[in-house]
């Protein structure tokens, strides 16, 4: 089945026109999230019945896969724990292999509100973005319940990244994101390993893809344990800072060698 890719270079005639024929994949990376993953999948289906939901089971040792399948999601089971970066990259590869036009990333812990997906699409079309990120910190209407240590860390990354990419980045660790084909092609080929969201912002900048943020409401975790535990906050900070600075110096592969690259790499620094 062939679907012509939407033309995002020009403003679309009507916002619903692009989406009506576009195929959208929602990925939900999950590591031991059996308590919440079923509800997340069900609420996604309830809000947008036409999208395909894929749960990436990153080597869970609990019933994550069973719960996700019961809720009606397709499940990709990684044979062992790859870490969030490897799991999400599997989602990009699945989206590319199955020719999806858009991919949405949603956390399995119920932090993200599926009702906000419409706003992500709206921003993508109206502000001509390749990636739209749902940010906790752009609106005073949405209070984000998180310990001060984590918020401080996020603001430090946000400050650094904003300076580097020359545009305001308020929530670089948000895992609530919408990607178009160009971003899918880039990240299917090369996605950061350990703490990917922050470095992915850098990659978008260096590959000249446009990222936009919109304010969203995020809930407290419905259950389970965050991959960033409070005791590990300092360790996490140092690793991400290292990733940012190493990321500045990395070589940028061209995503599709041998053909007209959908995403061209600019030389770093």
């Amino acid at each position: 089945m062939t679907i012509s890719p939407p033309r995002l270079e020009q403003p679309p005639p009507a916002p619903s026109g692009v989406r009506a024929q576009a195929r959208t994949l929602v990925i939900v990376p999950a590591y031991n999230e059996a308590e919440t993953v079923g509800n997340v999948v069900a609420s996604l289906h309830a809000v947008r019945p036409q999208v395909d939901v894929v749960v990436l089971d990153d080597g869970s040792t609990d019933a994550t896969s069973t719960e996700a399948e019961r809720a009606g999601a397709t499940v990709l089971r990684l044979p062992f724990n790859l870490g969030i970066g490897g799991a999400v990259q599997t989602g990009f590869q699945y989206a590319r292999a199955n020719d999806y036009d858009f991919m949405i990333q949603v956390d399995a812990d119920g932090q993200h509100d599926p009702d906000m997906i419409d706003r992500l699409f709206q921003a993508l079309e109206e502000r001509e973005a390749d990636v739209v990120v749902g940010s906790r910190f752009l609106s005073d209407d949405f209070e984000y319940p998180a310990p001060i240590s984590r918020r401080t860390g996020i603001h430090i990354f946000a400050f650094l990244l904003s300076r580097i990419v020359g545009q305001r980045v308020s929530d670089p660790t948000s895992g609530f994101r919408l990607y178009n084909r160009r971003a899918i092609a880039l990240f299917a080929r090369d996605y950061p390993h350990d703490y990917p969201e922050v470095e992915a912002v850098l990659m978008l900048h260096f590959h000249r893809l446009t990222m936009r943020e919109i304010p969203v409401r995020m809930y407290e975790r419905g259950g389970g344990v965050s991959s960033i535990r409070s005791g590990k906050s300092a360790y996490y900070m140092i690793k991400v800072l290292l990733a940012i600075f190493v990321g500045l110096l990395r070589r940028r592969p061209v995503p599709e060698p041998g053909e007209a690259a959908p995403v061209s790499a600019r030389h770093t620094i």
Partner: protein, 138 residues
């Protein structure tokens, strides 16, 4: 260098060289990795056996006591080997990640195709179990 010390150094580095050769002979060590070991062991044997060479090295790097230069050379090779293996492990980890991702996608696709086939044949066993697997994902 003290004769006694030279015997010990020669026995040590010679033993290492023989051990590496034996591991390669038994295919317990890939030639790719053995080359670095062989080079290191051979260099250490040469430095232990040939006191003049060690003296040259010691003078070149400004070490007054030649056996210390031997120690420094051995340390250099250890660092080089460790770095070499860290690079090798990183490459393996990367390849491992790609394999895991491909496996997850292939398993899902296989399950999808199998469920599609089961639905088409109405839960009966296929009369042609060797039917080619359709290549298109519906």
């Amino acid at each position: 260098m003290d004769f006694h010390l030279q015997i010990v150094a020669l026995l040590g580095s010679g033993g290492l060289l023989l051990l590496v050769l034996e591991l390669v002979r038994r295919r317990r060590l890939l030639e790719r990795y053995a080359l670095v070991w062989l080079g290191s062991a051979a260099a250490l044997v040469a430095l232990s056996a040939w006191a003049g060479l060690l003296q040259l090295l010691a003078d070149a790097i400004g070490v007054a006591y030649p056996p210390s230069a031997l120690f420094a050379a051995a340390f250099f090779f250890v660092i080089a080997l460790l770095l070499h293996f860290s690079v090798a492990v990183s490459r393996l980890a990367d390849q491992n990640k790609v394999l895991a991702q491909r496996l997850a996608m292939t398993e899902q696709r296989l399950a999808h195709l199998e469920s599609g086939q089961a639905a088409r044949s109405g839960d009966r066993l296929s009369e042609h179990p060797t039917d080619p697997i359709p290549q298109e994902v519906p």
